[in-house]
Each structure stands twice: as C-alpha cells, then as structure tokens.
C-alpha cells in the first residue's frame, strides 16, 4: 500500500527514492513518472512565488530567485489552498538566508510586495469624505476616531524599502537614498500603491488603526517626530482612500 505520507515523502526532496507500489501501468516501476508530480509541485509553487515577489526577483536576478524559491518552498510548503496567501514567511526567510546577508533590505521589500498582494484581495471599502473633517469643530476633531480601509497597510523599515521597490518596479523612479522609510499602502479602487510616509505619519496612522482618538494619535506622532506634518499626512491618507470612516 502506498499511503499519502509515502507519496508526499519524496515530493519535495529529490534525494529521496520514488515511493514503492507505483508502476507504469504494465508492471515496471514508475521511476521518473513520479518526477512529473515532483516537478509540477516545484514549478507551480515557484511560479506562485515569482508572481508574488517580482521586485525581489529583479533585485536578485531571475535565476537566483528560482534557486531561492526552490529552497524556500521545501522549507515552507503552503499551509492553505489559497495561493494568494502563499509566501508569508518569505520576507523572514530572505533575512535569515546567509548568502543574502549583504542585501539587508530584501526582507522589507518583500514585506511591501506581500502587503500589496494582501491589499489587492482585501475587502472593498468606501473612502471617507475629506470634507467631513473640515466640518468638525476643534473639540469634535480631537475626540474623533478614524477607521483605516481594510486594504491599507503600514510598514516601517530601517531601509528605503518603498523607494527600492519603486526604483525596480516603476520606470522613472528616483534612485533610493540611504535612509529609513515608512510605507503606506493604499488601494483607492483596485490597484494597491505604496507611498513613502513623512516623519511621524506612521505613528499617527498606526495609533488611529489601534483605536486612538485623533488627539492621542497626534500626541504620539509629535512626540516621535518634532517635524510631524499633520496636513500632509491627512492629505495623503484621505486623498488615497486610506480612511474609510470618521467617527465623531
């Protein structure tokens, strides 16, 4: 009997022998016929990673990416049949991969790609009307709370991760400057876009996402960034549909 444990044993490991009990239909051992399944698994998972992390593929080169994917998919086969979620462990894998230690930013660039994919499939939301804020009195403004749209992601990096992503993916993007960057991913309609956040804006938006009042979020941002620009932050967030509700 060839159980599914027997069958899967050699699926991800080319050094393991073909499981017993499998034939070519006329009594000869299955041999490389089994390899078809092994190859299908490796190719389909490798392709899924390539589709999900195009900037990483560009940064390391397509052949290196294939080799990386081959190692990754053996260590982290999918845990869900939803391939749209495959590769959640890839950023940490890249950071822990010794031969890539000199490219310290890869993990955070991969996090941006992963977040953009999650954003692409996130629930739809109607953007809050920006004029709603203008209609609030000062007291109301300070006590209001804001809900971020489900497609919004905020990522913090010690590297210029968003600029590196853009430099590789958006023609004409400027060369990245060596500085830390916070990234806001928005999806005004269907296409996620990363934006570099001004100082303190990530603190402000993360606080709002956790349920803080406008005033408390503002305090957090100002204590972390003396040059926090509230107007620019609100324009960016409201202008790209990052805020779905203003609750006063």
């Amino acid at each position: 009997m060839t159980t599914q444990s027997d069958f899967e044993g050699a699926l991800l490991d080319a050094n393991k022998p073909v499981p017993a009990g499998l034939s070519d239909g006329s009594g000869r051992p299955a041999g490389r016929r089994y390899w078809v399944y092994r190859n299908n698994v490796a190719v389909s998972l490798g392709d899924a990673l390539g589709t999900g992390f195009p900037a990483i593929s560009k940064l390391v080169g397509p052949q290196n990416f294939k080799n990386l994917a081959a190692i990754f998919l053996r260590q982290h086969p999918p845990k869900s049949p939803l391939m749209m979620h495959y590769g959640a462990e890839f950023p940490a894998f890249l950071e822990g991969f010794e031969p890539l230690k000199h490219l310290g930013y890869l993990g955070d660039v991969a996090r941006i790609e992963l977040a953009m994919r999650q954003s692409y499939h996130a629930a739809d939301a109607t953007a809050a009307d920006p004029t709603q804020l203008q209609r609030l009195g000062e007291a109301e403004l300070m006590t209001c709370r804001m809900t971020l749209a489900p497609a919004v992601h905020i990522l913090r990096s010690a590297w210029p991760a968003a600029s590196i992503w853009a430099f590789n993916m958006v023609p004409g993007s400027p060369k990245p400057q060596a500085k830390p960057e916070d990234t806001l991913i928005t999806r005004p309609e269907f296409d996620p876009m990363p934006h570099v956040l001004p100082h303190g804006a990530a603190d402000f938006l993360i606080a709002l996402a956790k349920g803080a009042t406008f005033e408390d979020a503002l305090k957090v941002a100002q204590s972390n960034a003396a040059d926090f620009d509230l107007g620019a932050t609100l324009n960016l967030a409201l202008g790209h549909g990052a805020i779905s509700d203003i609750l006063s």
């Binding site: 444990s5 070519d24 089994y34 049949p81 749209m84």
Partner: protein, 285 residues
C-alpha cells in the same frame, strides 16, 4: 416559492473558456463564440478587490462554472472545514450554474502541494472519497461534478478501473461527472490503454461538462511516451477526435477549453472555442 439557493441557469451545451483576468475587456467587447466561463474557486476566495468585482460583472452576462482546485477530495484526512466554509460562501453569493472538483488529493498533514496528486482505486479510497463528496454536497447544498485525473503512474494496489470507480461514486453520492477528454487521452497513452475503450466504459449519462486542453510530450525511463497535462498549448488532433467520439455517444454537452499556463491572446482561445463549437454542431441534439 423558488429556492433562492439554487441557480436556475445551467451551463449551455456550447463552448466555454477558463476565465483569465487579462481577457476581461475582450470578453466584454465580444466573447463570441464563448457562451460561458469557468473560474478556479480558490482565486475568488479573497475578501474583495478586482477579482470579485470582475466576477460579479461577468456573472451578470455569463453562466459561471466554479471549478475547485484545492479541496483535496481524495485526501486521507478530513476535508478542511475552513476551506469548505469558504467554498460554501462563494457558491452561496455567486449562485453558479455548476460546481466541480477533482478526483485527486493536494493536502496532507496541512501541507498543500498545489498539484492534483493521484489516488489508488481501492474500496477504502472509494468509501473515503464518497464521504468527502457527501460532505461537499451537504455544505454547498447542491450536486457537484467530479473530474477524472491525468495519470502518470498506476498504484499496484488498485482493484477498480477508473471508469468503474467513477461510476460507483456517482451511484453512492448522486454526484455528476466532469469528463476531461484530454486527461483521458493523457492517461490512456501513459498507462497503455485505449482512450476510446475508456469512453466506451465511462458513464456518459452522468456527464455535466467536458474539459479540453493541451498537453506536453515527454518519455519515461524506457523511452515510452509520457504525456503531461499542462494546459499550456493548443488541443491536439487526437484529443479533438476523442471529443467527436465522445459527443457522438453522449450528445451535446457544455465544452470547456482550458489554457492555464502561457495564456495566449483572446483570439487564439476563441479559435479553439470555434473548433469546439464545430464539434458540437456535428452532433444531433
């Protein structure tokens, strides 16, 4: 009162195509001769965004077939309850004309392999697959179609022929069948039996849909032909001939052209569908 859970739309006995997002505009402009669309269930299990928006739009104009590729109906473990719930949700809101899945497994010990892996045809497999089909049909509240696999090898322990195995599953569960004639051709060449003989033995009256697709050619350790189901090229003449042979016995059926890798432009797909339509035109209704 009408039961709103069930579509009163059936797949038309005309050409359909596996939907690819890059063809959205072409399809809305002029889908001819395509009459219906098939989607892979798992690609539409996100929470929102473009995939679901496109699907809602398309479902207003076309009968939709939902084709699962991740349920692992042949798996030794129980069906993933979360995945079953997602499927129930999708089938519930979309109310498609058909739901189908594969006689295969893809998940074991919570690892998903993203491939359709083969099963031994034994009494134990039969009982397990029948239980899983019952669970799926209970969850989605409707009959499903089960697709025959492409086989590259055989299990020495098998005691049932594939056609008898499928027939018995329909008898036990009331499910229908999705007949993939390319898979029949691939398996028959690979395992050394007659594809026409397979069709002769196959319960054609249970067929709710037929799949057509392209395959690649390779050889095994002994230089024998080894065909690989790739869905990445045109359908070969012997598979069209097998379709003719099948339709003559079965009468008209919904025909789906599958092209999943190296996806061509819409015109190339439409040309394959025109050929499928011509095959149907030869068959008395």
């Amino acid at each position: 009162m009408l039961d709103v859970r069930f579509s009163d739309v059936r797949l038309p006995s005309g050409p359909g195509v596996g939907y690819k997002p890059q063809h959205f505009n072409d399809i809305l402009k002029n889908a001819f001769p395509v009459q219906w669309l098939e989607i892979h269930a798992e690609n539409y299990m996100g929470d929102g965004g473009r995939p679901l928006a496109q699907l809602r739009h398309l479902s207003e104009r076309f009968a939709i077939s939902v084709h699962g590729v991740g349920l692992s109906i042949g798996g030794e473990g129980r069906l993933d309850p979360e995945h079953l719930a997602r499927l129930k949700h999708l089938v519930g809101w979309l109310n498609p004309a058909s739901f189908s899945e594969h006689l295969a497994w893809s998940t074991h010990d919570s690892h998903f392999y993203n491939d359709l892996l083969p099963l031994p045809y034994t009494d134990a497999t039969l009982t397990r697959v029948a239980d899983h089909i019952d669970a799926v049909q209970d969850a989605i509240g409707r009959r499903m179609l089960l697709e025959n696999p492409s086989s590259y090898l055989a299990f020495e322990e098998s005691t049932w022929s594939e056609t008898d195995f499928l027939h018995e599953l329909t008898r036990r569960t009331g499910c229908g069948l999705l007949l993939d004639v390319n898979n029949v051709f691939v398996s028959a060449i690979n395992l050394g039996y007659s594809p026409q003989g397979y069709i002769d033995d196959y319960p054609l009256d249970m067929v709710g849909e037929i799949h057509l697709g392209g395959h690649d050619e390779d050889t095994d350790d002994h230089g024998a032909p080894l065909l690989i189901d790739s869905h990445g090229c045109e359908i070969v003449d012997p598979v069209w001939a097998l379709l003719d042979y099948t339709l003559e016995k079965s009468g008209p059926k919904p025909l789906l052209v599958e092209w999943d890798t190296d996806v061509p432009d819409w015109q190339t797909l439409a040309a394959e569908c025109t050929r499928a339509q011509a095959a149907l035109a030869k068959v008395p209704a």
